[in-house]
Symmetry: C2
């Protein structure tokens, strides 16, 4: 047994991830010491309530409600409390005392990342946050280190397990969202209040973090365009399947060199159609995956469990070992590079493909009229499919038809205005849906 230098580790938070981290730190201490080159001594676990029930039984004498005192003198501080305060203050205090910080706090990084990375730079400490995006999947380190010599062109991520579970079951079972959501809540895959997940807030935080890292640019959360999945119906899922697509909630981070800008980025979260033969289409259940297109490396995909206490704890512990190695090696920490400082495009300037579904009058000349409006609006048609709507008894026509229009690449603003003009036109009964198509 080697007599390793001891590093004092403070853990803040003992929720589903924190309690697993504590458990693994204690259970595998010898192995972790060999890998880190240092003995990782868990000095204490700061919790709000000493008597709260936990996923894993933790030694009572390690628990404390006094995080401030615990942080003092620690070499590595693991923040798994979540939320903005007091997590932010604790992390800043830890960095200022010379500790390296490991965190899984996506909400904090997406809103106060720049402040935290600056604080780390000032003192030469490091902040590790592999657990903040896509749970157990190594994606932060590959983007920060492995692709540091390359230029990322686009990231498309399935980064929220709850919404992927819901959309995947809607797709495979032909069910309505409400039924699946209730089931997901019963199984613990969705919160009692699912807003953060199904409205895309969680995915938007992760998109901001991924884009900041990939494009070496500080991307504020409010620059991320966000749409949730609540508008997706069984009918839309069925139509997507029929057309060879599946609907996924995607976080898209893209380098753009458009007609008005030299170089910019676009960061957006929305449900989108993706072809069934795309690798992201085969990501099922609560799994996550991040598809990266880089200039030299080509297409890469990282796939695995996007959440779960023990799975995410794996990512945290990897970061703890990295922090320990760096702490032992000495030298300055690796700062976040935001030197590219690219502008973030408004959603109106984004260029992508669309699928527009219209209910129209079933009479001659309607298609020509619709095509004319699209053409005037600078939206070019790639495919059209027309189906006659059956009457309520399933036999006679209702006088209306359905047009499913796939567009070539168009500017979002042009598409928006064109859809408004279509909606106002006499021949259009209603605009059934507008969905982006990604990954072609």
């Amino acid at each position: 047994m080697i007599d390793y230098r001891r590093l004092r580790v403070a853990l803040l938070g003992a929720g589903s991830v924190g309690s697993q981290v504590a458990d693994l730190l204690l259970a595998h201490s010898d192995e972790l010491a060999d890998r880190a080159g240092a003995a990782l001594e868990l000095a204490g676990i700061a919790v709000r309530d000493l008597d709260a029930p936990r996923d894993v039984e933790l030694p009572r004498d390690l628990l404390t409600t006094d995080a401030d005192t615990l942080i003092v003198g620690s070499d590595i501080v693991i923040e798994l409390m979540g939320g903005i305060e007091p997590a932010r203050s604790h992390i800043l205090a830890a960095l200022n005392s010379g500790a390296d910080v490991v965190t899984g706090n996506k909400a904090l990084l997406a809103t106060h990342g720049a402040e935290i990375f600056d604080a780390a730079d000032q003192v030469g400490a490091s902040v590790y946050y592999e657990a903040a995006v896509a749970g157990a999947i190594p994606i932060i380190r590959p983007l920060r280190d492995s692709l540091a010599g390359d230029r990322v062109q686009r990231i498309m991520g399935i980064v929220n397990g709850t919404t992927n579970y819901i959309l995947d079951r809607m797709d495979s079972e032909g069910a309505e969202m409400a039924d699946i959501l209730a089931d997901a809540q019963r199984l613990g895959y969705a919160e009692a209040d699912p807003t953060t997940d199904i409205e895309g807030f969680d995915a938007a935080q992760k998109a901001a973090i991924l884009a900041s890292l990939a494009f070496h640019t500080s991307v504020p959360l409010d620059a991320v365009h966000r749409e949730g999945i609540t508008s997706i119906t069984k009918a839309e899922m069925d139509a997507a399947r029929h057309a060879g697509y599946v609907i996924k909630l995607l976080a898209v981070c893209e380098r753009v060199t458009g007609r008005d800008v030299d170089e910019a980025i676009s960061v957006r979260v929305y449900p989108a159609l993706i072809r069934r033969d795309h690798p992201l289409a085969s990501v099922h259940g609560v799994n996550n995956a991040v598809f990266v297109e880089a200039e030299a490396a080509g297409n890469l995909m990282f796939y695995g469990a996007g959440a779960g206490g023990v799975q995410t704890a794996s990512a945290v512990l990897g970061d703890v070992v990295s922090a320990a190695r760096r702490h032992i090696a000495g030298g300055a920490g690796v700062g976040e590079s935001t030197r590219a400082n690219l502008p973030v495009l408004d959603i109106g300037h984004v260029v992508t493909r669309y699928q527009v579904t219209l209910e129209v009058d079933d009479r001659p000349g309607v298609l020509a009229r619709v095509a004319g409006i699209l053409s005037e609006g600078r939206v070019s048609i790639a495919t059209v499919e027309q189906t006659i709507q059956p009457g309520p008894d399933g036999t006679a026509g209702t006088g209306s038809a359905r047009l499913v229009i796939g567009t070539h690449k168009a500017v979002e603003q042009d598409l928006d205005e064109t859809v408004q003009r279509l909606a106002a036109d006499d021949v259009v009964v209603r605009v059934v849906s507008v969905l982006r198509v990604e990954g072609d």
Copy 2:
């Protein structure tokens, strides 16, 4: 423009990867400097022949045939010559002079890895080798860093693009290997002498590197069991497809806690059956993928281009940026941990599932006889399928039938002995094939 500290970079080798690395280093120098926090100054490129044709035009004044002189005084040495010597001597000289080393040399690392990592440890330098396994796919860094706090249980990798291309086309087109191989050679996906790829030598080198890293154990190349794909016929591919499987050349690295051993590892390369719904089954063409099962993280997959000059150059440049950051930060390098030092099991002790295809006499009692031999040999049957062989004219029976037996998990040695007993038995006309089944 920031006035960065300059780091002297020496490049050894200007083949398909090396010339792309030089090109990207020169073209993206400003961006790379921002990311590395240091100006990466390409001091020279050592080549064997100054006038050899190259994939990319390189500045003539950077070329030199004197690698020894080029290495002196360099901060980072990139070795992309391949082969054992003089690559090994150059790397050792570089490390001993205090340089960090980036290499993509799998043959060297699989045979002299321990020597090189020891030399780096002695002087506190680092060796980076992301490009040595699976081209552009970040897999070394995730294994070394991201999963450093976890326990890898199994790795199954498609790590050779040439064989995956051949098997994938045999599967999708129902073609024989010889035809596809000729085509692959024409397209540049296979070498004129394809032995290294199709006999599994290349995959075995990568398996040794992956296993060493994942299990913190020095795995010598000759401890890797290796079988190539030349025994795979169209008939076997068709039978696999019929049974819901696909045949892939897999590099399997497994932590084993068997009946005779407390803890050991097994490292093996062979063509194996894998279920069509396994994520590895959808890895097509020359792509690579590495599927990792870890105790805490669960299942992860890393997918992308496994070869190609510019793709692999991306991995090299990521390592160069990491090396530069470390060089600037100072402190000791991260050594390779081989402290677990697990024994490597002989193939005879490996436990897996098998599919045994027999041609047998078509008469009553044969199945019972075969089942008896399997049972005596401690091989338990999971599934049996029997088909009558049509006669040459397609109408009458030939007197023989085909038995496809899927086994439960069995010990390789037991299976081997049992198959020998089957082959010698009167009722068995011949053993058509024996294939392992992985990933269930």
